[in-house]
Amino acid sequence: MAAPSEKPVPLADQLSQPFWDAARQRRLVVQRCADCGYYNHPPRPTCDRCSSQRLEFAPVSGRGTIYTFTVMHQPSVAGFEAELPYVNIVVELEEQPMLFMVSNLPHAELDKIRIGGRVEVWFEERGPDLALAQFRPV
């Protein structure tokens, strides 16, 4: 029998490195436009709203609501086979409409998940150098 596959590890790039560095320190940050204040996630070369190139990372509250979700019964990513069925949620952070992050809401009770349900960030350790911003019901 094949060994269980590992979950994929995020590969930071020049735009996203500060996001992952902050996560390792258990801080949730999002790229923000220094000109118009708009949050952009994932980080972009230019601001989605005003096209400014003056972008920096700013801390966010980590609070939000479940915008939508799906319950996965078939693995779409290697490493999640043992967790089926698992949930994927899209979190809308309270800082801005349609500022989204994705989580798999570990340990959630599937039948209690609702659109609009409140969630908050926590950090899942996956090895010594990786912390993932996850969410849990409040």
Partner: protein, 393 residues
């Protein structure tokens, strides 16, 4: 209105076998479909001097071996005895398969070639869909570590949102899926030709990505569909009645969120395509005798009904009830069974059926007197392209 309206036509269609797993390499299936399309037009391969395809493999991490995983222009040139000098070709990776048809029309009108062969070949090995890279780069770095990189999740979550916003249920969606199967049962090329589906079958199907069950997902077949295009003038001398290209449109991929496709994205993108489609054809949704609307996942067709103006936003789930989209209804939709029941051909099946309908070749599925039919490919949230074909130039 587009100055090219009615100046080019689709004049031949060919299908390979459509099976879940073929024992033959994809390139051979593509040759079957291409030869059949050329013969259907009453031409010989030596007359084909233009080629276009949308060659991309249909899933993340697919192989790129030509003739096995994909079928490129070069592969067809090397394996079919075409005109000694192919004068024009294009491989188009944006906009799905109507995009090569649109560029084929432009090439014919420009005099770049006389006969264009277009194909879409799909290889779907059993490992389809599972992201298996150890490291996730690009946008996947924010998705794959959470088990969430599939296109299916985006679609399932957008549909969940639609249900929440408008009050749609699986009961509503089931009407569409069962109607598609009923049409496929009249289509001998369809993967599910011999398999009927009841509403009970739909509700009993296993969940894949809730709220989607198995039958909300298109069936991943291996195979190829090809078509031949030429100028309206040349078309009149050929074997089959021509399906004239009346208009076309492509979407421009504007997105609200860059992490996942929202419900609003379908309106922004779908309307950008539909506006161009209708204005170029000088026709509108009310002029369509049938609509072939992409259904990679079942709700995509509902979004297209809204984005293309067949009904208002948030109303498609109600619009499709009571037989309205059935073969004998006021707007027959996906009269061949769609990708859900004919097979995943990334829109080529939709184009082929539009051609069959306006040329009176749809056999038991024929919509009486069909004179104008649209075929729109892709999901309105992502890339897409569409054409209107007509019986008369």
């Amino acid at each position: 209105m587009w100055h090219g309206k009615g100046k080019t036509a689709i004049v031949g269609i060919g299908y390979s076998e459509l099976v879940r797993q073929s024992k033959r390499p994809l390139g051979l299936l593509a040759l079957d479909a291409c030869r059949e399309a050329i013969a259907d037009a009453g031409l010989s391969p030596r007359q084909i001097d233009g080629l276009a395809t949308y060659p991309e493999a249909p899933f993340l991490g697919a192989g790129t071996r030509d003739g096995v995983d994909i079928v490129s222009v070069a592969w067809i040139i090397n394996h079919l005895a075409l005109a000694p000098d192919v004068r024009w070709y294009a491989q188009i990776e944006t906009g799905m398969i109507a995009a090569p048809v649109i560029e084929g029309a432009h090439a014919l009108m420009a005099g770049a070639c006389d006969y264009v062969l277009i194909w879409r070949a799909l290889h779907q090995p059993r490992s389809y869909g599972a992201f298996s890279a150890a490291r996730a780069a690009g946008d996947a770095q924010f998705l794959a570590p959470f088990g969430c990189v599939g296109v299916i999740q985006s679609h399932a979550m957008a549909w969940r949102r639609y249900m929440h916003q408008y009050g749609a249920t699986r009961e509503h969606l089931g009407t569409f899926v069962v109607n598609s199967r009923r049409n496929a049962n009249l289509n001998p090329r369809a993967f599910f030709y011999t398999k009927p589906m009841t509403r009970d079958d739909y509700f009993a199907a296993r969940p894949i990505a809730e709220p989607f069950c198995l039958f909300d997902c298109d069936v991943p077949v291996e195979g190829c569909v090809a078509l031949v295009m030429t100028s309206a003038e040349r078309a009149r001398d050929l074997r089959r009645p021509p399906a004239y290209i009346a208009g076309h449109g492509q979407n421009t991929v504007g997105r609200r969120s860059l992490l996942f496709y929202t419900l609003d994205d379908y309106v922004i993108n779908g309307q950008s395509l539909a506006g161009k489609l209708w204005s170029s054809a000088g026709l509108g949704p009310a002029d369509m005798d049938a609509a072939q609307l992409y259904d990679g996942f079942s709700p995509s067709t509902l979004y297209w009904l809204e984005a293309a103006g067949f009904c208002k936003r948030g109303e498609a789930y109600a619009f499709i009830q009571d037989g309205r989209i059935a073969l004998e209804g006021e707007l027959p939709v996906n009269t061949f069974g769609g990708s859900l029941s004919e097979g995943r051909l990334h829109g080529m099946g939709h184009i082929a059926e539009a051609v069959f309908q306006v040329t009176g070749r749809a056999e038991r599925r024929q919509v009486p007197g069909a004179a104008a039919v649209c075929a729109i490919d892709g999901s309105p949230m992502m890339r897409g392209s569409g054409i209107v074909v007509t019986r008369d130039p």
